[in-house]
């Protein structure tokens, strides 16, 4: 399959990439990182563009650094590099739990952290993670740099708060290796594509007495974009996370979701999975938190 013809540039700096983005009419130019979502869209001609700007060789978009209570991952970092980083393994286990379930090794060798979040596939795994650990998405555009909280980033189906002339440069994931903190990612995979029918990322922080200080729940796959389950989170704060409490809170896990429906899974089934998987993810995260 051939895409419609386009031009290609692989700039060596962020400034050059921004200039290239602005040198083309909006909608005619697109960034590419790993290409694992965009190349199929171009081949199927579901997306047509005049110019492609490859961000994978921009040094400013690489590197993984510790900034105290978070880990900053360059947007062009591949899934493979992220899961093999000792820093991410130690401080952001939720990223490892989810990314090791993305696609397959070949996809993880090319696909990037930034590309996956910017693409905002309704069934992408990383958006749920970004929500659960209050990630901060850093973008640079013609008028400077800004930081977007994950909760304001996923706007609609494959639509984010990024502007067309902006480049996502890095993502900061809040560390969860403190005492009494635990995380888990639970995914019901589509048997053929491997994408999440529903995926739930949970992060739990306990008080010294074992009650819940805070619980964050990010849901992907069920609705048109990844969402926090605020109702569930509020219902858990201050409580002991036993089976009955989790069951009661997670009964509302699918409330307010803009549920998707397809031949594999109806909206009703997705809502059911959301409730079941939210409880499993929270129970696992709470068990880890209790041991730490």
């Amino acid at each position: 399959m051939f895409a419609k013809d386009f031009s290609y540039a692989a700039p060596a700096s962020l400034a050059e990439a921004l200039a290239l983005l602005q040198s083309q009419p909006e909608g005619e130019v697109k960034l590419v990182a790993g290409g694992q979502s965009l190349i199929p869209l171009l081949k199927l001609r579901m997306t047509e563009i005049g110019a492609l700007v490859d961000v994978s060789k921009i040094p400013e978009l690489h590197g993984i650094t510790d900034d105290g209570d978070g880990v900053v991952i360059g947007a062009a970092t591949t899934y493979f590099q992220a899961v093999n980083s000792p820093l991410v393994q130690k401080r952001c286990p939720l990223v490892i739990q989810a990314v090791s379930q993305v696609g397959d090794p070949q996809v993880r060798a090319r696909g990037t952290i930034g590309g996956s979040l910017a693409h905002a596939d309704p069934a992408g795994d990383l958006p749920a993670v970004a929500l659960a650990v209050d990630a901060e998405l850093r973008a640079t555009g013609p008028s400077g740099s800004r930081s977007i909280p994950a909760t304001a980033f996923f706007v609609d189906l494959m639509t984010t708060a990024l502007q067309p002339a902006e480049v996502l440069t890095a993502v900061r994931f809040h560390a969860t290796d403190a005492p009494h903190a635990g995380t888990a990612y639970v995914k019901h995979r589509h048997p053929a594509s491997g994408y999440a029918i529903v995926g739930v990322a949970a992060a739990v922080w306990l008080n010294d007495d074992g009650t819940c200080r805070a619980a964050h729940v990010g849901i992907t796959g069920a609705g048109t974009h990844a969402t926090r389950a605020a109702g569930v989170e509020q219902a858990l704060t201050g409580k002991r996370l036993d089976d009955a409490t989790l069951t009661a809170a997670c009964a509302n896990a699918a409330d307010g979701l803009d549920l998707m429906s397809d031949p594999y899974a109806s909206g009703e089934y997705r809502a059911h999975l959301t409730r079941v998987l939210a409880k499993r993810a929270l129970a696992q995260a709470a068990a880890t938190a209790a041991q730490r």
Partner: protein, 172 residues
Amino acid sequence: MRQKISVNVNGVPRENEVEPRLLLVQYLRESLNLTGTHIGCDTGQCGACTVLLDGQAVKSCMVLAVQANGAQVRTVESLASGDAYHPVQQAFWDLHGLQCGFCTPGFLMATVSLLQRNPNPTDAEIREQLEGNLCRCTGYQNIVAAVRSAAEKMRAAPAASPTPMPAGAGGE
């Protein structure tokens, strides 16, 4: 507009002018006549087109040839040395890890990559790591057996395994 690329393929430096929309798999098959790399689904699902790009297994129907500019690519054609099969090829032959053979070049390259990262994988790890490759014939049982056997042979005689990898192999 065509663009010039330089790619090292199976140890041979190549320079070509390609359209940016040309896929790496088509570059290998049509520009370089290396038809060992197969196109199955052409949509990133089946892994038949798997090659090593800077030492890592990737699906070459999901990479543009221009993205491989400056990189090292290894295809199935590089595995055997003369008449001697690579241990992974020999194990697939000995243990019937193939029937029609269409998926095999992809499985071989994915296996080479897997054994580089993990020379002693469990059966579960083999299945998990070959998730990106589909086979319509074998039912996978003999593929897993072949990978296990290749791993044993390569651990026993690492020097006999002709898999010289470029610097930075395996990423990071």
